[in-house]
Amino acid sequence: MKLIRRMAALWHRNRETRALREEMALHLELRARKLHRAGLAPADAGFAARRQFGNAAIYQDQISALWGWTMWERFWQDLRHGVRMLVKAPGFTAITVLTLALGLGINTAIFSAVNAVMLRPLPYPQSERLISLWEENTKPRDQGFSSSGTVVGSAGGSQRTTVSPANLADYKATGAFEDLAAYDSAPVNLTGLGTPQRLSGEAVTWNYFSVLGVLPAEGRTFLPQEDKPGAESVAIVSHEFWQQRLGGGADALSRSLLLDSKPYRIVGIMPAGFQSPSNLGLKLATEVFLTASYSHELLASRGDHEVNVVARLKPGVSVAAAQAALRALSAGLAKQFPATNGNFRASIALLRDDLAGSASQSLWALLGASGLIVLIACVNVANLLMVRAAGRRHESSVRMALGAGRLPLMRQLMTESLVIAAAGCLAGIATGRLLMFGLTALAPPGIPRIETAGMDWRVFAVAATLALATGLIFGMAPAWQASQVNPVDALKTAARGTGGASQARWRTVLTIAEVALSLILLVGAGLLLRSFSTLMGVNLGFQTDRVIAMNISLPILRYPDAQARLLFFQRLEERVHAVPGVVAVGTANRMPLRGGWSSGIAIDGKTDRIVDPDFQAVTPGYFETLGIPLLRGRWLNAQDTANTLPIAVVNQAFARQLLDGADPIGHTMQRKPRAPRISIVGVVNDIRRGGKEEEIKPEVYLCAGQTDLYPVPLADLAVRTAGDPRTLVNAISREVWAIDKDQPVTNVHTMDEIVDEAVAERRFQTLLLLIFASVAVALAIVGIYGVLTYSVGQRMSELGIRVALGAPPRAIVGLVLRQAGVLIAAGVVLGVVGAYGLTRFLEGLLFQVKTTDWHAYAGAVGLLTVVAVIAALIPARRGARVDPVVALRQE
């Protein structure tokens, strides 16, 4: 109540002051009139009334203080004064505000990305209880006669794989989860609605939507009985699919879709904007959801790791508790089913963290780096403010001599700093907004949700807090400095005022800090650059130029067996070969960097030692198309068919790792104890199937013509061309449609693009850190230049005397450079120590480069030193050119 009244009074301040004055005037008038009636002359009466009243101004001030107006008034005064001082020095103001805008802007942009990718909750109800579950092979090179799809990634010596649906019921039995759902990408060909299309689809268990907590907006979700082999084929489509491909009509729920030539009845339409976790925030959204309908065979086979799992924790169950329960269960399963579960265990993580994945590490590193930039910007502004405060020493001492307290003086300077910080904050948010566009444009595909980066309350709060903190930090130094002024000493020295020893010390410390901080960033950038160039130098083992790859997934209904698919691709290869400009054409299950499969085998019938090479079924043209040279033996060729002896070609790593370096030709392998023996007839060069970062693994190339050897369908076609492969895409597609007009051609990319995309994330990190380091170095240079220029200005008369006494220009330059050298050397030493401590956070981002890589350190130190010396040379030469007469006259 009182507070409200005070605030209201503040609002009505002028009115209240007028009212008070009126009251007092009335009082004086009435008193004067009374005195007059008592016999005084009018003039005397007025005077006597005023004397009796006392000093009205003092009473008014007292009342002002009473209402709390004084503080407000002083703040306004300081603020107005501060703004006026800044407007009077536009150059200074522009530099400081720009420096802050840069620092805060970079931070705002990076933080908004961190916020979008890692902090913001996923768009599912109570998403903090959603977790991702996977299985880990604790002995990845020894997994028995089991096969697995694309290997998802590896962590800590154990290899992460997808989940075996057979284990799901056991996981649910731990009681930690409300429910678990499985999903897997299941792209399908859509026909009967215009041109044939390849849809991104997902095969999900019936409870998938209820686990995510989002049910269809129209129609219904899947029923348990629909998620069984042989059940009616039903589909749920996305809102976007309904709008764009079905015209958004109300009749959609009564329609059917022809997917892979099989009719599916639409039973539900998801709400607008719904995205499945696997492609959250990515451009390619899932359009149709189908029931997974796992076969009885699959549900009985614990060794088939094939699906992704999302689960919802029971309320109150922590991730750690669920993890512990799963570990115990996995140990039990391993004992119970040693053949399939012996080396496997289940692991979980919050779905949000798991989706952010590798991006989170690089984003945290970038956030750390941008934090260093803010520090440097802070130091720089503090430095500038101190130089300015030194110039205003005279002003300060005059004010102090006239009775200004130290506290008001400090408050005045702090207010000025906060005005700068506020301006910097606004400019920083605007800069951040711009940088954010650049950031999302540069961001590699695959960082989930980064497109959604934008301003929200978190970003604003962080920017504002940072600005306030920086304002306080950089405002402190000059304010404290000013309070140390001794007016007597200061007034005694020349009006221009020297900075004083303590001031010079402060600025030296700040500059050293700046050099050190920017060196840390430079070392970090150097490490990433080294690591990136190492990566780029990795030889893939095949030729990527002038090759185009595309996916042609044949629907099982129209191409029911491997033989039919083989025939299609053999016809297609013949036709494509005849297209002018085509040099070679080959088919495989999957082209390099597009996944693959692996399988346990026994070599030469030794079933006691099962090994696990990667497999690939290829047509004879594959090797020529990708430029993989044959080292020994013979190629696969067109004469190898289902009726001839099963054969395979292996790579060098196969011989090295699985045959102890022996010549593989003549050895045999089997995928099952009673499966046919496959003879090795040739050895080809090693290639890095998984991309530049992957190790070379033992690899077996099966003959596409011997279709009973491989369970995975042929799907990828690659074409080597004489010219730009892009120009032949239409011609190749026409050949596909000449054979089957309903067959979509998708995922068309040149091999160069595919390789490039695989390094996109590293390029992004490296580029950003390089930009950050450049900004840091630029700021440090400005700092060094500023300090030296100022110090040369201060020492003009001294330098003038030296010149007058015969010092050659070289000596003067040396004098200034020595001062710079001390700054730079101290900064470099501190920076190297700091970098040594901080770069270990980059370890996970480096490729075959140690955090202590001396090249990076030497490069960073060398670069920084050279640039800093150049920055120092400018003021040094100015010092050397000083005219002694002019310099001495200034005194």
Binding site: K2, R5, E23, L26, F53, G54, N55, Q62, L66
Partner: protein
């Protein structure tokens, strides 16, 4: 920011009690009337710098002991008329009680038994 500049006459803190007492006995009064009343009732013994009345009034307004409403004087001049609130009445009782105890104690010391 010293509290008040009253030189002599009344002990510090007493002014507010006097104002409250004055307002408790009469209809709402404006500043000059209050000053006049105190001066006349004490037969001119209590000397107060009249201006000090106004910070005291403002302080009491803030503490909710009195309320101020604008009205017209007999000569049709605008003036703020102060009147006592319930809170002010309680405060007056407290002050009087305290004053009574203090002056009793002082009297006991000054008049030897």
């Amino acid at each position: 920011m010293s509290e008040s500049k009253q030189r002599e006459g009344i002990p510090p803190g007493t002014l507010e009690m006097l104002i409250l007492k004055t307002l408790s006995r009469h209809k709402p009064m404006h500043g000059f009337e209050i000053a006049e009343f105190i001066l006349e009732t004490s037969s001119g013994v209590l000397q107060v710098e009249e201006g000090s009345l106004y910070p005291a009034l403002q302080r009491m307004l803030l503490k909710d002991w009195i309320s101020g409403d604008w009205g017209k004087t007999e000569e049709n001049r605008r003036a703020r008329y102060y009147s006592m609130t319930a809170e002010g009445r309680k405060q007056l009782a407290r002050e009087l009680d305290r004053y009574a105890r203090v002056s009793e104690a002082i009297a006991a010391i000054l008049q030897p038994a």
